[in-house]
Every structure is written in structure tokens, then in C-alpha cells.
Amino acid sequence: MLPLNEMAISDSFFGQKFGITVHDLESYLSEALAAGGDYADLYFEYLATSNLSIDESIVKSAVQGVSLGVGVRVIAGERTGYAYSGDLSPDKIRHAARVAACIAKGPSQIEKTGFDESHKRNLYPLLTAPHETSLAERVDLVKRADRAARAYDKRVFHAQASYIDSLRYVLVATSDGVLSFDRQPLARLGVSVLARDGDGSPQRGYAGGGGRVALDFFLNEKTPEHFAQEAARQAIVQLDAVSAPAGEMTVVLGPGWPGILLHEAVGHGLEADFNRKKVSAFSDRIGQQVASPLVTVIDDGTIRNRRGSLNVDDEGVPTERNLLIENGVLRGYLFDKLSSRLLRSGTTGNGRRESYQHIPMPRMTNTFMLAGDSDPGDIVRSVPRGLYCASFGGGQVDITSGNFVFSASESYLIEDGKITRPVRGATLTGNGPEALKYVSMVGNDLQLDEGVGICGKEGQSVPVGVGIPTIKLDRMTVGGTAG
């Protein structure tokens, strides 16, 4: 009988398709550590994608593709050597290992003693990933979205819908004996609509969602019609929008996607690479009050079927539910392996990378604020004059100064405790360690977003999720043009 991990690998995608064995992995890791170093790992990736889109009711674009490769990393102290190969032949992988090994000097300190397969669970147990279903079924999603967007209102004059899915197989083998496999499905449907009233200026609406879900999700839970109608509704609302106000005011964020506030205001600043280097506005602030006592923020990579979830991160570490801020007090950072080694901390399962061509770093998964006690209606009623933000575009943060922005795509004036006129897009700005101190009410209506988030950091994009209940911020700067 074969030892357990030899069976695991021969049954795995890479064992079956490329004949990779435990012996191969050990020999590549030995090569990587031949010049010394404290740690080495291999990241094998096979990524298949589909992208189908409709525009002007014509399916104009249909793209499929495959990319595969292996990344080899060697860590020696604070140094990282990295090389990759798009070719899985043994001599090419050995060459990459030798290149990565150049970072280290001196005899190896590591004795390789086999692998243990990392914790097994499945947060996205799909028998059939969307990528494995028929193209006809999937292209039907964009056709339905197009029809629904046009049917919503006669002022809709243009619609575009795109459906993107991927199926990623990964194998991570490390010199500290971790062997992990994962099969990661991901799918997303997005609809963009333009509407116009007579000769007026066109307005755009966008909605989308998905996750690590089966195709069934788009047939029974969040249908193409759902996203299309939401996109069309947003565009129509904007037709009556007035200029956004300018200056500091009370801001109420609606539930769900506005959780991007947390991603920008605190999430990035808590990534441990920045804190190891002490370049974050949150460096050395563990235990300090960085938000109102009403605020508890979690990053959780273990929520079933969510876009930001992973069974194991891209370093083979199981993801976790991590407490970042508890009742306003800073409790923890998000770690990758390098940061956890250098800061002598435990891992949190946040080491992620865009592909085999990229070095892992600490990244968020699904970041959200826990629900509070307030009724969302009471929150709005408590505001004499302010801004209610229902949906956002993107955001960005300067982690060193802590200044962040996020751009409202659907917002309304609050006048005398009532949501009144829609206002045009405006950017909101604040400072990370200060902004959440002004949270004075937290709703009981926590929602996670519908599954569209893409986070960019140092040139690498990864899928993420956010979530938030309705909250009231007593003070925030709104960047409109009206006095």
C-alpha cells in the first residue's frame, strides 16, 4: 500500500494530469533549498476560464482559455527568492528552483521529512463547477440579462451583460511538510445599463454577483433578471439625481456592498506585511481604540460559497475567521507565512496570490462588521440632514497616512429624517484610524455583498467579499460640488 500522501497526490488533479509524485515534489524542494534558506514552497496552478458577453443584444464575445504553471519560492530570513515556469517539465521546474535558490547563501538548515496533507474540508463542494456546464446554458444567462434590462423601462437604451467563470486547481507543497490540494470554482454575472430621458444626459447603472457557486445559483437564487433589474433601476434613479453636497456631514451607509468602507478604512492597514515594516497607520496599535465601541470587524475566509472564501490560502494554510476589531479595539492583523514568521505570530490563512507568477502576500478574504441593535429605519430617522449611500463603485487607501476614499454610485439626501432626492456620484474620504470612531449607530441588518469584489494590491488582483449592516457615521467628508 502507498503511504497516505502518495495516494493523495496520485489521485489529485496534478498527479492524474501531469504525473507529479511525492518524490518529484521533494526533489524540487531540495533543489530550491540547495543553497540554504529557511523555507521553500511550490505552488502548482491550472486555471481554466470562460468569459461570455452580450452587447446591443448580440453575443459579441466568447472567450475561453487555460493557463498553467508552477511558482517556486525560497525564504531566507527576510529575503524571498521567486521564480516560475509555465512549463511543468521536470527540468524547467528544477531550473526555476535553482533561480529561486539564488536568494540564499550557505548550507541548508532544513531536513525534509515528508508531507502531511493540510486540514481537509470543502467550503464549495460543487459536483459540477459552472465552468464544467454547457456553454449554451451559460450563454443563456447573458441573453436573459439583456432582455430583462431592456424590458425594465423604455428609457433604457443600452445594455451589456457579461458572465465570467473559472476553475482553478492548486497544489501547494512546502518544506515544512504541508501538502494541500484545492479545486476552486468561481463565477460572476454582471450587467451594465445606460438610460436616458429624452435629450438628457445618459446615466449608467451596474449590478452583479456570484461566488464559489454552482450554475444553479444563477438559475434559482440570484437570477440574470435580478441583476438586470437592479442595474436598470440604478440607472433610472440617476436620471433625477441632483449635484452631490460638498463638505463634512452625517453619512448613513446602507447594508451590503457599502462594507467596502471597512476594506479601505481598516482592512488594508491591518495586513501584516505593512505592519511588519511599520508603514501602516495601524502599526503598533494592537489593543488601542481605533473605532467606536459599537464596531466589531471580522475577516472570515470560511463562509460557504462566498467569493472571498478559500479552503486553504495560496500557501496551503487553512483559512479562518479572524477578529480584527472588537468593540472598537484593534485585536489582530492578517498574516501570510512570511509575516507570521518574522512577527513570531500564528497564521491566519490570509496568504494569497493572483497566480503562479506572483509572490503571496497578506490579503483580505470576506471582511465585514457585525450587526448591532438599531433598526435601520430609526437610523435614517435620527438624521436631520445628511447623505444615505446605497451602493458604491471602487475605493482606495494610502495605508501610510491612513487616508482613504470610496465612491458612491447610488446615494440620496437625508432631509428631516427621510431619504429624499437621489444625488450624483461623489467620493467620500476619511482617515482609517479615525473614521470609524464616528460610528454612532449600527443596524441589525448585516448583509454581505452579492459577490463582485476584486481587490488590487501591488499589481495583484484577488476576489474578495465585504459586508456591513446599516451604519451611521456622524462625520465624514463628502466630495460633491453643491454648496
Partner: protein, 447 residues
């Protein structure tokens, strides 16, 4: 080196399988980067990759595919996949390849490749990064930390072929040196960066210059205040002006125009900017990042005047968007490795004026000099503009103090009309370039 036979063979296979037309792109590249942080080497990366892309037409239906597996088996799957996708797409009356009379390439040496980016010794490259960071530390004692300095290099080749007889390839290289210092003073901590990049190592600025500039840009941000909400003139430095030019590109590219998803749609021949504004796209200038012998569907690169003294003269188009608008392609087709082409730019720049940046600042009684913009608050459909900003407050023609945590807002329509004489400081540091720009008035949102 890429084998042209692989592309012609892939196209032949696609035609055999029923494609009526086909386009194949092959690309390969090698990247190197070294990051030095706090005086020691922190990251070294060295690797190469290749990929193939195929787009087929079966009548008026289109399918596209890509692969990183260039084996015979990989190419067979590439072809099968594209053909299969064409079958599920719709008839698009405008789909097609460029007319054969449009195909072609610029001749002569465009200076896109320089072997020097590859031949430098690794130790030397690391030393360049180390000296750059050191120069930043040496500039000011408040530079106490660093996100590092890096040396990176890239070289690669791109080949494009189609079933109408076009076959062309070119090599490119690039090299860059950058530093991101962190400054601290009391409670304030700030970071900024500076960089130099070029197609040849010989044209990179010195480590001493880059490090010093990065440090100066960082320390001048210390002690930033938030100003009151008000309307004032705003000066965009060349870096932030470049991003504004990027917004204008998004508003004149063919896809946004034919969908009427741009505030400049239907404005050809009209005055859309102040007469100080002339914007040109030129893909033919030797040695620059926006230059190429042909675009991503085999049409020669060229020079197009987009806005001439305030009047919108041309959109930027590929074959598809040109056909939709009953116009001619401007040689601006762009795509990654596969798929329908989008629209890209060559070297997109705003023509410089007479006055130095110092003179422009001296001409402002009270206003904002913007050195950083963050966030995505630009709506090309409506032209609404609202972005996070940081920079220097100007009082009586001089920098008074740094500002941050504010937004600046207007509409692109008004901003274009409000551009006063551009500065004399036009420099091609990347494929988009602008001199310093003064915008007559924007809303600052702060306290």
C-alpha cells in the same frame, strides 16, 4: 524567439476546422525584479512565460481562446475551443478583420528593444536599487523607514498574424528604478515615491536623483492639514495631469462613443476644451512606451490629433468601432493575448505651453497644487468628477502647507473648458504624458 510558423500553422488549422477568418497572437516575456528594503535585499524574482491567443470568425460569429500550453496538443485544443465558442455567439454584422488595404507596419528602427536591460549583472542591479534607497535616506533625516527601492526589467516579443496575409512581430524591453520612502515627524507618517523607466537602461535617471526626488516628494507631505470646503483654482502636477488625460482617453475611445457612454459622444467638430488644449495620440515616436510598428490587429500605428486648440477632431478607433461609426480605423486596436480588440492609445499627450511650473504656481493667489489622486470617482458617461486628493496649498503664489484627506470635484466637461495655459514641462515618462495644468476652478471638499 517566437516561431512565426506556429502562428501560421494555428491559423491554417482554424481555417481547416471551418473558420472563415482567423487572427493569432503569440507573446513571450521575461521579467526580473529586485527589491531592496532597509538597505538589504528583500525580494528577487526572475522568470519567463509564453502564451498563444486565437480569434476566429465563422461567418459573422466570433470565438476566442488562449493557452499557455504551446504543444501540438495545446494548439489543437486552442483551435477547438475558439471554433466551439463561435458556434454559441451571435451573428454580428460589424464583426470582421481590417480591410487588407489597412494592414501594414511602420518600417525603420522604432528603438523599442535594447539588450542592455538583460545583460546587466544581478549584483549590479541590486546595487542600483540599494543606492536609490540610500539616496532617499541621505536626503532628509525624517526619512526613517522605507517600503524599499526596486530595479525591474522586462523583455519580450509579440507576434501577430491573420488569415489575410499579415504577419508581424516586434521585441520590446523596459527597465525601471523606483523608491518608496516613508517619512515620520511627530504623529505624522507619509509615503510617496519616484521612479524612472525607459526602454533602455541607458536612459534611466541616476539612483541619486530618483532617491532624492522620492524623499523630497515624501517629506513635503508631512504635517498635512484638511482645508475648508471652497472653490479655488487647482494645479495638477504632471503625474496627476496624466491621470486626467487618461480620463479624456476613456471619453474619446470608440467603444464608449458608439455606445453613447461618453460625455464626448457626438461632439466631433465642436469646441469641448479651452483653446489652450491640444491633445495628440502618436504611436510612431521612437523609443517611447506607447510606440509600436502596428496595432493589435495589424494596422500601422500613426499620429492622430484628438483635440486641436479646444476642438474635438477625432475619436480613437479600431476596425470594429470605426465600422460602427462609419469612420476609418485610427490604428488604435488593443488586446491582451486574445478576444475582440478594444481601443488603446499610443503616446497620448497634451501639448506643452510656454510657462514654467513655477510661474504657474506664482500666478495663483489661493489654490491647490495636486500631487496625488486616489479612488475611482470619474464617471465617463456623465463626466462627473470627484476624487480624493493630496498636495500643497498655495497662498500668494507660494506653497504654504501640505493638504490631504480632501476631495476635488467638478465635471470633465467644465474641467476641459477651464484648463488655462499648460506648463512647459512635458516629459514622456510613460505612454501618457502631460505638462502641469491649471484648472480655473474646482470644488474642494474638506472641513
Amino acid at each position: 524567439m517566437i516561431d512565426p510558423e506556429l502562428a501560421t500553422e494555428t491559423i491554417r488549422l482554424a481555417l481547416d476546422r471551418g473558420a472563415t477568418d482567423a487572427e493569432c497572437t503569440l507573446a513571450e516575456g521575461e521579467e526580473f525584479s529586485a527589491l531592496v528594503r532597509m538597505r538589504s535585499l528583500e525580494t528577487l524574482k526572475d522568470a519567463g512565460s509564453r502564451a498563444a491567443g486565437l480569434r476566429v470568425l465563422v461567418g459573422q460569429r466570433v470565438g476566442s481562446s488562449y493557452t499557455s500550453d504551446l504543444s501540438a496538443e495545446g494548439i489543437r485544443k486552442l483551435v477547438d475551443s475558439a471554433i466551439e465558442l463561435a458556434a454559441i455567439s451571435s451573428e454580428d454584422p460589424h464583426a470582421g478583420l481590417p480591410d487588407p488595404s489597412e494592414l501594414g507596419k511602420l518600417t525603420g528602427d522604432l528603438q523599442l528593444f535594447s539588450a542592455d536591460v538583460n545583460t546587466l549583472d544581478t549584483g549590479y542591479r541590486i546595487e542600483q536599487a540599494r543606492q536609490t534607497e540610500e539616496a532617499a535616506f541621505a536626503t532628509d533625516p525624517r526619512i526613517t523607514n522605507s517600503e524599499g527601492a526596486s530595479f525591474s526589467a522586462y523583455s519580450g516579443e509579440r507576434l501577430f498574424a491573420n488569415s489575410r496575409g499579415f504577419l508581424g512581430s516586434y521585441r520590446t524591453s523596459s527597465c525601471s528604478l523606483s523608491a518608496t520612502p516613508v517619512a515620520r515627524e511627530g504623529e505624522f507618517m507619509e509615503r510617496d515615491y519616484w521612479y524612472s523607466s525607459a526602454r533602455s537602461y541607458s536612459r534611466i535617471e541616476s539612483p541619486a536623483h530618483i532617491g532624492r526626488r522620492a524623499a523630497e516628494r515624501t517629506v513635503r507631505r508631512l504635517g498635512a492639514r484638511k482645508v475648508a470646503t471652497q472653490k479655488v483654482p487647482v494645479i495638477f502636477d504632471p503625474q496627476t495631469a496624466r491621470s486626467l488625460l487618461g480620463n479624456i482617453f476613456d471619453a474619446v475611445e470608440g467603444d464608449a462613443i458608439y455606445r453613447q457612454a461618453s460625455f464626448l459622444a457626438g461632439k466631433l467638430g465642436e469646441r469641448v476644451a479651452s483653446e489652450n488644449v491640444t491633445i495628440i495620440d502618436d504611436g510612431t515616436l521612437p523609443g517611447l512606451f506607447g510606440t509600436s510598428p502596428f496595432d493589435d490587429e495589424g494596422v500601422p500605428s500613426r499620429r492622430t490629433v484628438v483635440i486641436d486648440r479646444g476642438v474635438l477632431r477625432s475619436y480613437l478607433l479600431n476596425t470594429y468601432t470605426a465600422l460602427k461609426l462609419a469612420m476609418k480605423t485610427t490604428g488604435n486596436a488593443a488586446r491582451g493575448i486574445t478576444g475582440n480588440t478594444g481601443v488603446g492609445h499610443g503616446n497620448l499627450f497634451l501639448e506643452k505651453g510656454e510657462r514654467s511650473p513655477d510661474e504657474l504656481v506664482r500666478g495663483i493667489r489661493k489654490g491647490l497644487y495636486v500631487t496625488e489622486l486616489i479612488g475611482s470617482g470619474v464617471n465617463i458617461v456623465t463626466g462627473d468628477y470627484s476624487r480624493g486628493a493630496a498636495g500643497q496649498w498655495i497662498e500668494n503664489g507660494e506653497f504654504a502647507y501640505p493638504v490631504s484627506e480632501i476631495t476635488i470635484a467638478s465635471t470633465l466637461r467644465r474641467m476641459l473648458m477651464d484648463i488655462e495655459s499648460p506648463g512647459s514641462d512635458l516629459e514622456f515618462r510613460s505612454s501618457v504624458a502631460s505638462p502641469t495644468l491649471v484648472i480655473r476652478e474646482m470644488t474642494i471638499s474638506g472641513q
